[in-house]
Point group: C2
Amino acid sequence: MNAADGMNYAPQGKPQPVVKPGEFVFSATHIDHGHIYGMCNGLTEAGGTLRYVYDPDPVKVANFLKAYPQAIPAASLEQVLEDPETQMVCSSNVTSLRGPLGVRVMQSGKDYFSDKAPFTTLEQLQSARETAAQTGRKYMVYYSERLHVEGAILAGYMIDQGEIGRVISVTGFGPHRLGAAGRPRWFFEREKYGGILCDIGSHQIEQYLHFAGEEDATVQFSRIGNYAHPEYPELEDFGDCSITGRNGTTNYFRVDWFNPDGLRTWGDGRTFILGTEGFIEIRKYINLASDTLDGNHVFLVNGKGEKYINATGVTGYPFFGQLILDCLNRTENAMTQAHAFKAAELCLQAEAQAVRVSGPES
Amino acid sequence: MNAADGMNYAPQGKPQPVVKPGEFVFSATHIDHGHIYGMCNGLTEAGGTLRYVYDPDPVKVANFLKAYPQAIPAASLEQVLEDPETQMVCSSNVTSLRGPLGVRVMQSGKDYFSDKAPFTTLEQLQSARETAAQTGRKYMVYYSERLHVEGAILAGYMIDQGEIGRVISVTGFGPHRLGAAGRPRWFFEREKYGGILCDIGSHQIEQYLHFAGEEDATVQFSRIGNYAHPEYPELEDFGDCSITGRNGTTNYFRVDWFNPDGLRTWGDGRTFILGTEGFIEIRKYINLASDTLDGNHVFLVNGKGEKYINATGVTGYPFFGQLILDCLNRTENAMTQAHAFKAAELCLQAEAQAVRVSGPES
C-alpha cells in the first residue's frame, strides 16, 4: 500500500490464476486515475493477460509501461476496440467520461471494467443499462474499498457464515487525503468528478448493499459541504448519507477529504456492521496509534466473545478471478450487473438530493 | 464500572471537594434507574452533603442506604421539598415523570438534577422551561455518557485547545446491553420511557452540541425500529438520527439495544469528532479485543501525528463541582440551562419525526 495517497492505492496480492496465459485477454485505456494499477494488478494476478494500453497522453502510457512492460501501446482507442483478442477493456477515465466509453466498449462486443464512480449522471447510467441489456456485455466497476481490501472480504465471509446474525445496519467512514497538489484539474470540477457522494461515496453504498444483502434501497437524507477549501469552489470536502434498504436494513456513511497530515496512511477507513447477534468493525488501512502500519484489522464481537483477526494475506482478492470466469462463462459470481448499477444509481441520487451544509464562503 | 449492565454504570472518581461539609446539601428522590448512584457519587465526591432519600418503595430506599448510609429516609416527597437545608433534589424517576417532578422541585425553591432523558414530551419540556424562568431555579440533567466519562472530558479539552481545528462533524455510537430480565416494566412502555432516540439518544445529542459548540440545531432525519424483540412491541431496539447545527456542523448518531453477550462490557460506545485539522476517536468503555478491560481510550490524529491517551484518572469529573458552585453562585459553568433544554428538545423532535424502519412483526 502506498501510504501517501489513496489515489495510488494498488494492492498486490498472491497470484492465484484461474486461467492459463492467453485464455483471458484484457486491455487498458484512458489512465486518468491511479486505480488502473489496482485493476490491472488484480486481473493479472488472477491469470488475465494484459494486451494493449492506450491513452492520448504518451507520458501516462510510458508510466504504465514501467509497471506493465508486457503491454503493447496502441495508436488509438479504435485499435483496442477492434482487437479481436481483447475480451475486456479496463479504464480509469475521467469520471464523467466513463459511461460513454463503456457504451462504446460494450457496443464493440467487449466487457468493460470501469474505475469507480462509474457515472456522474443518471442519463449515463440509463444509457449503460440499455447497452448492457442490448449487447449482453458487462459493465463492471472497481469498487476497490471492498473488492481490494482483505478485511472487507473477510467481513463478508463472517456475515455469510452467520457470525453476527441478521444484518441490521452498516455504517461507513471514508476519509481520504486530499493531496491537492498531486490531483489533476478535473478532480476539482464537479461536472467531471460528480460530487463527493458520487465519487468516494460510491464505495460506501456498494459495501452497504453487499454486506446487508440488499438489492434495492432508498436514499433518505444526504448532505454535502465545502467547509475549508474555498480555493476549490467545486470541491465537496464533506458528505454524508442515510439509506434504507428494501428489506429494512439501514445505512449511514460519511466521506471527507480531511485526512490529517499526521496520519500514517491516506485515510482511516472504517466499516461497522451491526447484526442481531453481534457486530463487526473493519479498520481497513490502519489501526490508530498501533506499532505496526498495516491494514485489514477485523474485530468480530458476538455471543462467543471479542475476536481480532488481521486479514492481511488471509483471503486474497477473489473478485478478480471470479470476474474473469464470469466473463468467460457469462455468469455473475463476482458481482451482478444489477448490483453494480444499483450502487451507482444510489450514489447519483444521494448527490442529487443532498442538502448543502456549508458553503465555500464559510 | 459495572461490566454487566450500563443501567448500573456509576463511576467513582477521586474526591475533589469544592465545598466544605454542609455547604451544599442535596437529597435524592424516586430511584427508578441506577443512574442515581452515579449522580450521588459525583455530587458527594465534589463535596456535596447528601441529606434525605425518598422513594415510595422501601426496598429501593434500603438498597440506596447500603451505598449511602449517611442518608436519612424521608417519609414523603413533601418532607424533602419542605426541607430548608436541601438545596438540590436529584432524581432518576420514571422518565415520563421527571419533568413534572422537576417543576414541583423548582416551585419549592430548589434546584433539580434529573437523570436523562429529562422529558418524554415537548409539553413537559415547555412546562419546565417556563418554571425555570419563573423561579430562577435550575433543571440540570445527568447526561452521563459525556459528564461521567473521562475520555469524553479529555476530548472536550482537546477541542478547546484547538487540536483538531474547527469541528465539522460529530458521529456517535451508543450501543447498550438490553439485559431485559433486569429491567423494570416501565422500561418497555413507550409512553413512559419515551422511545430510544429520546432515551439513550439524548446522550448523543448532548455530546454533539457540546463538542461542536452548537447552541441550536435542526433534526433532519431519524429512524427507529424494532428488529428483533417482538416480545416487547413498544421497545425500539434501533434508532439513528442526523442533525445539522445552526453554525453548519453536522451530527449523526446510532443507538441500539444489540450489545452482544460476548462483549466484556455493556456497550462499545464511541464518539468520532472530525475537525478541519484533525480528528478524535473516543472508545469510551472498552478497546475491543485488547488485553485490558478499561475505558477512556482517546485517539487524537492531527498534523503532528497519531496520539493515544488513556484518560482514566486524568481529568476527573469536573461537572459535579462546577454544578455545585453554579448552584451556590447562580452561574452556568457546568452546563447552561439552555444547553440542557436544547439537547432535550432535539431528542424529542428526533423521536417525534422518526421514520419506522422495521416493525416488531419482522
